[in-house]
C-alpha cells in the first residue's frame, strides 16, 4: 500500500512538474516592442509597411508558440491563433520573432487579423486560450510615425505593461532593443580594471569563501562524528571490561586500512596463513638458475680482497 502511495505521489509530482515546465516555457515569451504607424520602417515579405509586434523568448530553451493567441480584445482572448505545425514558430533561446499587425492573416503565420491603429491593448495568450502571458496598453498619443514602444531591456519588466517600457530611440525589429550599440561586458571590465587586480581579489575571495564554508561545515560534521564514534567505542570498552579507553580521534585511518586489508586478504584472496594445506609438492624445476640459493642474496656485501 505504502509503495502504491509513494508511486502515485511520484507520478503526481512528475505530472505537475511536466505541466509546469510546459506552461513555463510559453510563459517565458514577452511582447518586446511594438510599432503602430509604419510609413518608413521595416517591410514585410510582400513589400508592405505595416505596424508590427515583436515577441521575445526570454528563456534559455526553445519555445514553440504554435497554438498561442494574439488579441487586441480582452473579451476575446482567442482572436488570432498562431498556427501549429509551422517550424518557424519554434523560437530559439533569447531570440525574437516579428508579427505584422496588418489584418491580413491569409498572408501567413506571422500576419495578424487586426491592426495596431485600431487597438488599445495587445495581449499574448497561452495555448490554453485563458492564461494571459503578457499584455501592453498602446500609448497612441506618444507614438509618432515610425517610433516604436518597447521594453528598455529585452524581456525585463512587468507583464502588465506597467513597468520596463519606454519610447525607444530607434526601432529594432527582430533584434535587441538595447544591444545595437551595447559595449561587451568584458570590454567594460577591462576599462574599469585594466590590471585585473579587482577581478583577482574578488574571485580569490569568492573561491576562499566557498572553500572556507565547506571547511567550517565539515569541521563541525567531523567533530560530531568523532564524538559519536568515541561514545560507541567507550561503550564497547566498558562491555569488554577494558581499563583504558581508545581515542578515536587519535586512531589513524592507516590502522583501519591495515585491518581492512588483512581481512580482505583473509576472506577473499585466500592469503591467510593460519591454515596450511600441509601438502608438500616436490616438482622438478626446469630452470637451471633459482635465486633462492644465489650468492647475491646470501652475502651481505661483495668480498674485498685484502691487501
Amino acid at each position: 500500500m505504502k509503495r502504491v502511495i509513494i508511486k502515485a505521489l511520484i507520478l503526481t509530482v512528475f505530472f505537475f512538474a511536466w505541466q509546469r515546465s510546459f506552461a513555463q516555457s510559453q510563459e517565458d515569451m514577452r511582447i518586446n516592442e511594438i510599432l503602430v504607424t509604419n510609413t518608413n520602417d521595416f517591410e514585410d515579405d510582400f513589400g508592405h509597411k505595416n505596424g508590427w509586434i515583436e515577441l521575445f523568448n526570454s528563456s534559455y530553451g526553445t519555445v514553440n508558440i504554435g497554438g498561442c493567441y494574439f488579441t487586441n480584445d480582452p473579451a476575446n482572448l482567442t482572436k488570432y491563433i498562431i498556427p501549429k505545425g509551422d517550424v518557424l514558430t519554434a523560437i530559439r533561446p533569447r531570440q525574437h520573432v516579428l508579427f505584422w499587425a496588418d489584418n491580413q492573416p491569409f498572408r501567413g503565420t506571422f500576419h495578424l487579423n487586426f491592426t495596431l491603429e485600431e487597438s488599445k491593448e495587445i495581449l499574448f495568450v497561452a495555448s490554453d486560450g485563458k492564461t494571459i502571458i503578457d499584455r501592453i496598453k498602446i500609448p497612441h498619443e506618444q507614438l509618432l510615425e515610425n517610433i516604436s514602444f518597447g521594453r528598455v531591456k529585452d524581456g525585463f519588466g512587468k507583464t502588465d505593461g506597467t513597468e520596463g517600457w519606454e519610447i525607444l530611440r530607434q526601432t529594432s525589429p527582430s533584434t535587441n532593443n538595447f544591444g545595437v550599440d551595447e559595449i561587451p561586458k568584458s570590454v567594460i571590465i577591462k576599462e574599469i580594471d585594466p590590471y585585473g587586480a579587482v577581478m583577482s581579489i574578488t574571485s580569490m575571495s569568492a573561491v576562499f569563501v566557498s572553500l572556507i564554508l565547506l571547511y567550517i561545515i565539515f569541521k563541525q560534521i567531523g567533530k560530531y562524528n568523532i564524538r559519536n564514534s568515541q561514545k560507541r567505542s567507550d561503550q564497547v570498552s566498558v562491555l569488554k571490561g577494558r581499563k583504558e579507553k581508545v581515542s578515536v580521534e587519535d586512531t589513524s585511518a592507516e590502522v583501519y586500512a591495515a585491518i581492512a586489508t588483512a581481512m580482505h586478504l583473509y576472506q577473499t584472496d585466500n592469503e591467510a596463513h593460519d591454515i596450511e594445506n600441509t601438502i608438500l609438492t616436490i616438482a622438478k624445476v626446469t630452470r637451471n638458475y633459482s635465486p633462492w640459493s644465489s650468492k647475491i642474496y646470501t652475502l651481505r656485501e661483495t668480498p674485498v680482497k685484502n691487501r
Partner: protein, 387 residues
C-alpha cells in the same frame, strides 16, 4: 589512342597528386613542425611516461590534424559535418569536460580532505595561478575574455580549461588546451624546484598527523553539501561542480556501484580518448602556429609557477597559526593545483628525498582534490564575470 590513354593516365595521376598530402604542404613547414611536436608528445608519453593517457591521444591528434589535405572533402576538424568535426563538437560545445568531471568524481576519494578539512584552503590558495596569469595576460594586451580563458591554465585542469575557453575564447581553445595538458604532464619537472626554493629543510621534514578514519555518512554528505554550497555561491560552475559531486555521490552512496564503475571506467576512458584526439587535431598549423599560441604557452608556464608558489607560501603562512603537531608540510602546497594525482605524487617524491619514511601522498591528496573543486569554482566565477 595510345597517346590519349597516356594523356588520361597522366592527367589522372596529376590529379591524384594534387589530392595527396605531399602536394598540399604547399611550402607550409608549419604542418611538419606540428607533426614533429605530435611525435615528441608521443615520445614523452611512451618513454618518460608523462601523462601517457593524455599525451598519446593529443600527440596522435596533432599528427591527424596536420596532414594537409584538399579542402572541401569534409574530412578536417574544422570542416562542418566531417567525422572529426562532429567529434570536436563535444569540445566546442563544452560537453566533454563535465563528463570527464563525472568520471573524476566517481574515482576521487575525498577522505583525506574530509578528515583534515583545513587542507581545502590550500586548494583555494593555489588558484592564485589563474588570476595571476589573468592579470599578466591583460598587461600583455589580451582582452578580458581571452585573459580569463588563458588564466584558467593555472588551474592545471584540462577539462576545466577546455570548458572555460570554449565559452570565453573559442578561437584560442586549441592552444589553451594543449598548453594546459602539456604543463600538467610537466608537473614533475616544473614544481619541485619551486617547492625547494620556498621551503627550508626543517619545513620539508615536518611530519603530519595521520588522517583519521572517515565514516561513510561523512563521505555521502560531502558531495551533497559540497555541491549545494559551491553551486549556490557560483551557479555558473554547475556543469562542472554538479558532475564532479554527482560522480562522487555515485561512488560513496554504496548502492550505485555499477553506475560509479561505468563513470570512472568506460565513460571517462571514451571521453578521454575523444577529447585528447580532437583537441590534438584542432591544432592545425595554419590556425595554431601564431604568436598568440606562443604567448599562451609562456603565460601557461607562468600560471603554473604562480599557482605552485601560491600553494607553498600559503601553507607556510597558515603554519604560523597552527600548533606544533598540527603543522602542515609546505611540500604539499603544490598539490593545490588540480593535476590529480600527479601534483600529490610530486609532493610525496620530494618529501621522500628529505626523509625516506615521510610519506606525504595521503596528505597531499587533500589539497589536490580541493584544487579540482577550487578550479571549477574559479572557472564559474570567470564565466559569470566575463561571459
Amino acid at each position: 589512342m595510345e597517346g590519349n590513354l597516356f594523356q588520361v593516365l597522366a592527367r589522372n595521376l596529376s590529379q591524384f597528386w594534387e589530392y595527396t598530402g605531399f602536394a598540399n604542404f604547399d611550402g607550409n613547414w608549419g604542418y611538419l613542425l606540428m607533426i614533429a611536436i605530435g611525435l615528441v608528445f608521443i615520445y614523452l608519453a611512451i618513454t618518460k611516461e608523462w601523462e601517457p593517457m593524455l599525451l598519446v591521444p593529443i600527440g596522435f591528434g596533432i599528427i591527424i590534424g596536420n596532414i594537409p589535405f584538399f579542402s572541401g572533402l569534409s574530412i578536417g576538424v574544422y570542416e562542418e559535418g566531417s567525422v572529426l568535426n562532429i567529434l570536436y563538437q563535444g569540445v566546442v560545445k563544452g560537453w566533454y569536460p563535465p563528463l570527464i568531471f563525472l568520471g573524476i568524481g566517481a574515482m576521487t576519494d575525498f577522505s583525506a580532505l574530509i578528515s583534515n578539512p583545513k587542507l581545502l584552503l590550500i586548494g583555494a590558495a593555489a588558484q592564485l595561478g589563474i588570476f595571476g596569469a589573468y592579470a599578466i595576460a591583460l598587461l600583455m594586451g589580451f582582452s578580458a575574455t581571452d585573459a580569463g580563458a588563458i588564466g584558467i591554465i593555472g588551474g592545471a585542469d584540462g577539462p576545466t580549461a577546455i570548458f572555460l575557453s570554449s565559452r570565453l575564447a573559442p578561437n584560442l581553445m586549441g592552444a589553451i588546451a594543449v598548453s594546459a595538458y602539456s604543463y600538467m604532464a610537466l608537473v614533475p619537472v616544473i614544481q619541485p624546484p619551486i617547492m625547494k626554493l620556498f621551503t627550508n629543510k626543517k619545513e620539508r621534514l615536518i611530519r603530519m598527523k595521520p588522517p583519521r578514519a572517515v565514516s561513510q555518512t561523512e563521505k555521502i554528505l560531502f558531495p551533497i553539501i559540497g555541491f549545494l554550497l559551491t553551486a549556490l555561491i557560483v551557479p555558473s560552475g554547475i556543469p562542472l561542480l554538479g558532475m564532479l559531486f554527482f560522480g562522487n555521490l555515485l561512488k560513496e552512496s554504496g548502492v550505485t556501484r555499477r553506475l560509479a564503475e561505468t563513470a570512472r571506467g568506460p565513460l571517462i576512458d571514451v571521453i578521454t580518448i575523444l577529447i585528447g584526439l580532437t583537441v590534438g587535431a584542432s591544432t592545425q598549423a595554419d590556425k595554431f602556429l601564431q604568436v598568440t599560441s606562443v604567448l599562451i604557452f609562456v603565460l601557461g608556464a607562468l600560471s603554473f609557477i604562480i599557482a605552485t608558489t601560491g600553494g607553498v607560501l600559503f601553507v607556510k603562512f597558515f603554519n604560523l597559526f597552527l600548533k606544533e603537531g598540527n603543522k602542515i608540510n609546505p611540500l604539499i602546497g603544490n598539490s593545490g593545483v588540480s593535476a590529480v594525482p600527479d601534483a600529490a605524487r610530486v609532493s610525496n617524491n620530494v618529501g621522500l628525498q628529505y626523509d625516506k619514511t615521510n610519506y606525504l601522498l595521503m596528505h597531499a591528496m587533500g589539497p589536490n582534490v580541493a584544487g579540482v573543486i577550487g578550479s571549477a569554482v574559479a572557472a564559474g566565477i570567470l564565466l559569470a564575470f566575463l561571459a
